[in-house]
């Protein structure tokens, strides 16, 4: 970071250029920044400050390494925050204009830095985003963001930005007054100089005594409604388990009622309380550290070029066509195969034109990678393998998208079982980041390395597990939904069971998700599982079977555990129709039952040697199984 005084314009140029490719806020940055502002403050000739970045982005926020060290460093982190906040206040109260040049993204602390400037001029780069994503990592803004943003752009928009953590494009930010002016890269400086000339003595809106607020005031009727609505939304989404949005909302509402300096101190108190919570530490670990490691396949075999150009997908159901689309989007040449022309034409609607459709298996015989995504039928899968595998070029990979059938079993049909692997995508593919990569007994290191490269190429998160019926995720999924059914079969109130699961930390309740994937699919998986000695609660399974016989296969038929008639209402049938005797229970009992079923299954998965790396447990649970990252901790406790 450097400070330069331009004699001609008498303007200070403060340029951020941290080592590496991005600007991140850490202790060193903060100390230097503070010194610079002191220097500027002492120079009576100064006419303004231009704050800019020498990197592609303006500033991407606090250095997460710093937060990660929170266990031992909490007091020093808070000292950094305090220094930064005091510096920012000192800066924005200087009697000269301060302009931030947003040449790229300003996120988290980076945006907070820009908010403490009098004016933000941005270039409308397509990659640039402005946002406060802190809550998505389990923390809240700590450098005035919860206070300056709503005072600048109003409560409604800032709640949206802070509670979702979603970043805005520059053009959208311009609409909110977050950005004052748009400019081109080459004209940024002249635009800044012009603004400085036109506004020699600017004041921040929150330092004006007679300012007009943007949108409703915090304690107006509308303001109160906005907060109440936001509060209800947070509770609905998180069952009251997730601290970050709660504290962010509290900081905003409480802070807006008081004077800015004290409001920023108050925010720092909230910030201090959240960074030391287990929840924040867990989220930082899972969503940042572990996720990064999974994304980059740290510790896993790699290859420069997987030598995979063409991908053949067998099965044009929803899963197959979505996988085809994912590969096509990344420039692979893709052939989608199905025996049914009807399935193919149905799939065609949502596919890129470059995807070749074929009802002839032989058109796939030149593919470097086959992903088989047909119905979960071992025999069918083997038959296809036997027919096509011998015709493939040597070294081509055969991946099955099975969610449960052991790869080693399927590999018996392949002349080169070392080329066979499991690539278990999750539905809907475009929204679910996880891919469970399954190593058969004979799967080679080379096959793994090349498969991982492909998974990374389609921007998915690969966790690598060992073979066994249901692998990791399907076994946990079955344990979850079966425990839901089991509890119903035992006579507990389905409505309570659903809420208990939310209270356990699951994003979707078990009976709801059972209806969504369909009872028939689950029953089929259990039947297959029987062949491999898969264990599950019998009364729950029997209940599902009985419901199937009653014509209640799930959401697709409008009838499952719920009735779907526009609205979704719980079916009262378990007691009324099936005559299950009601049993009362505390919510916490049901929560524990659900958690325990999952923990016990994980224990069996671990004992079976399925898991290869510890980090995959939480990453898999969060990105594939709908565990809330703020609550997943119980799984391994």
């Amino acid at each position: 970071m450097q400070l330069r005084f331009d004699d001609q314009t008498q303007i200070f140029f403060l340029t951020m250029q941290m080592p590496g490719s991005v600007n991140k806020i850490n202790a060193e940055f903060t100390a230097k920044f503070s010194d610079f502002i002191d220097t500027v403050g002492k120079n009576a000739a100064a006419k303004g400050i231009i704050l800019q970045s020498a990197h592609r982005d303006f500033c991407v926020g606090a250095d997460l390494e710093l937060l990660e060290s929170c266990d031992t460093q909490a007091s020093s982190i808070l000292a950094v925050i305090k220094q930064l906040n005091q510096t920012l206040r000192r800066m924005e109260k200087l009697p000269i204009p301060i302009v931030a040049l947003l040449n790229g993204s300003a996120l988290g602390g980076g945006l907070e830095l820009a908010l403490a400037c009098h004016c933000r001029i941005a270039t409308d780069n397509s990659h640039a985003r402005l946002g406060l994503p802190e809550v998505t990592l389990g923390i809240i803004p700590g450098a005035g963001g919860t206070q300056r943003l709503p005072r600048l752009i109003g409560i409604e928009k800032s709640l949206e930005i802070m509670l979702t953590g979603k970043a805005l494009r520059i053009s959208d930010a311009k609409l909110t007054r977050l950005v004052d002016e748009l400019s081109t890269e080459s004209e940024l400086i002249s635009a800044a100089l012009a603004w400085i000339k036109a506004n020699p003595k600017p004041k921040q809106p929150w330092d004006l005594s007679n300012r007009v607020s943007i949108g409703p005031q915090v304690d107006s009727e509308m303001g109160r409604q906005l907060f109440l609505g936001a509060c209800a939304q947070v509770i609905k989404k998180t069952a009251g388990l997730f601290l970050a949005p709660q504290l962010a909302l509290s900081a905003i509402q409480e802070g807006l009622r008081i004077q800015i300096d004290r409001a920023i101190e108050l925010e720092a108190e909230f910030f201090a309380s959240i960074i030391q919570t287990q929840q924040a530490k867990d989220m930082l670990r899972i969503l940042w550290k572990d996720k990064n490691a999974v994304e980059k396949c740290v510790g896993l075999p790699t290859c420069e070029d997987p030598k995979i150009r063409s991908v053949g997908i067998i099965g044009a159901g929803m899963m197959g066509s979505e996988i085809a689309q994912a590969f096509a989007k990344k420039g692979f040449s893709v052939v989608l195969n199905d025996v049914s022309d009807e399935a193919l034409s149905k799939a065609k609607k949502d596919l890129m034109e470059t995807v070749l459709l074929s009802n002839d298996l032989d058109t796939l015989s030149n593919c470097d990678l086959i992903i088989e995504a047909v119905f979960e039928d071992t025999q069918l899968k083997k038959t296809l393998t036997k027919r096509l595998a011998p015709k493939l070029p040597s070294g081509s990979i055969w991946a099955s998208n099975t969610s449960a059938i052991p790869i080693s079993d399927l590999a018996t049909a392949h002349p080169h079982p070392e080329n066979m692997i499991g690539l278990h995508f999750f539905s809907p593919v475009h929204a679910m980041q996880l891919v469970e990569v399954v190593m058969g007994e004979k799967t080679s290191k080379d096959t793994l390395a090349r498969s991982l490269a492909c998974v990374r190429a389609v921007r998915k998160l690969p966790i690598v597990v060992n073979d066994g019926y249901g692998f990791y995720t399907t076994r946990l999924f079955c344990a979850y939904v079966l425990e839901g059914a089991q509890l119903v079969a035992e006579g507990y109130d389905p409505v309570l069971i659903e809420w208990a699961a939310k209270k356990a930390g699951m994003l979707v309740s078990p009976l709801q998700v059972t209806d969504e994937v369909s009872l028939s699919l689950i029953c089929h998986a259990l039947k297959e599982g029987d062949k491999y000695g898969f264990s599950y609660p019998r009364a729950g399974a029997a209940l599902l079977q009985k419901m199937l016989e009653l014509g209640r296969p799930g959401k697709i038929a409008g009838k499952g555990f719920y009735n779907y008639d526009g609205d979704r209402h719980m079916w009262t049938g378990p007691r009324a129709t099936l005559g299950i005797a009601p049993r009362d229970a505390d919510l916490s009992f049901l929560t524990h039952r659900i958690q325990h079923a999952q923990q016990a299954e994980l224990k069996r998965v671990l004992d079976g040697g399925i898991i290869r790396q510890q980090r995959d447990i939480d990453v898999g649970a969060v990105f594939g199984l709908g565990f809330a990252p703020y609550a997943v901790r119980y799984l391994q406790n």
């Binding site: 109160r224 509060c231 209800a232 939304q233 509290s250 309570l496 609205d567 209402h569």
Partner: protein, 401 residues
Amino acid sequence: MTHAYIYDAVRTPRGRGKESGPLYTVRPIDLLAQTLQALQRRTHLDTQAVDDIVMGCVTQTGEQGSCIARFAGLLAGYDECVSGMVLSRFCGSGLEAVNHASAMIMAGASELIVAGGIESMSRVKMGSDGGAMLDVSTQWKLPQVPQGISADLIATKFGFSRQDLDDFAYKSHMKATQAIERGLFSKSLFPVCGKNNNVLLDRDDCVRPDTALDRLAALSPSFEVMGKKFFLDCLTKERYPELDHINHVHTAGNSSAIADGACAILLGSKDQGPRLGIKPRARIRSMAVISSEPTIMLTGPVPATKRALEKAGMQMSDIDLLEVNEAFAVVPLYYAQELKVDLSRINVHGGAIALGHPLGATGAILLNTALDALEQLNKSTALITLCIGGGMGIATIIERM
């Protein structure tokens, strides 16, 4: 301990609490001052004898702020030695003022008090006094919903249908219409006047004599949008996880009407009668205030009633008439079901659904209504009870002399 006696009571007719309402042009302080004057005129009260004016008022802000009772007393020409106090127990305020006055008299601390309530909802909007109960920082620890959702929650949990509520509302209008036509309220009403002594309102005007069941049935639910679309229903989930959903069954038609109004009741010790030359009409038998679960909020009249009965050493069968505030139709319906009381004993002349609910005044108005009804029907005892925000409940038992 001495007893507290009710010497007399007056009230304004209740006007629709909107900008088009008949009392909208009257300042709250003037509305209350006229009420105090009416009481003075009827009783030929030597106001020097009055120790205090205690008024319930919920939204104590703007022109209803700053101890309106004191200054309304002065404007009404009461002697300057008469103190004034305003209190809020939300919808129970008017009755709380009566209970407070009674307690002071029973304790021997006061001899003569004017108690009652005032609320001009057309001018001072409900909720405009703020408060931290719905703040997000409160919500995380104590999820709260607006009352209408609580009312719908009670209906869902205890099985009252939209039709049950509409039927009740219809009967409230019919009973009130009949009472007005027969002049049963005229004993206590006085006409509210404008600047030139022109009469602005001389009869309750919220009631709709032409209400019909099919018209009530056509109204849309009032709390469905905030409950479903804005997710407020899920704030009840913490306390009521067993409810799959909330049926939104309350409408503008089966909830209390927003209204303007005031009421003043003269209470004193036994000695005050001969001294002032007036006879007591009734005495306070017992009073109670309770608190219960705040999310469901509106079931408080049941435990409040039980406690008031217990304090009086009475049974439900000893009570001739009941006034259960019709904040929402489900409140008296739930009350009747829980306490196994025949609905015919409840709100014999209709209630707030038909007549209006000027928040701070209603408790006193109900007591006044019950007192008149006891005399008209030649009955002896009445119990007045109201549901209150935050899960509170209040009840008072009176007995005719």
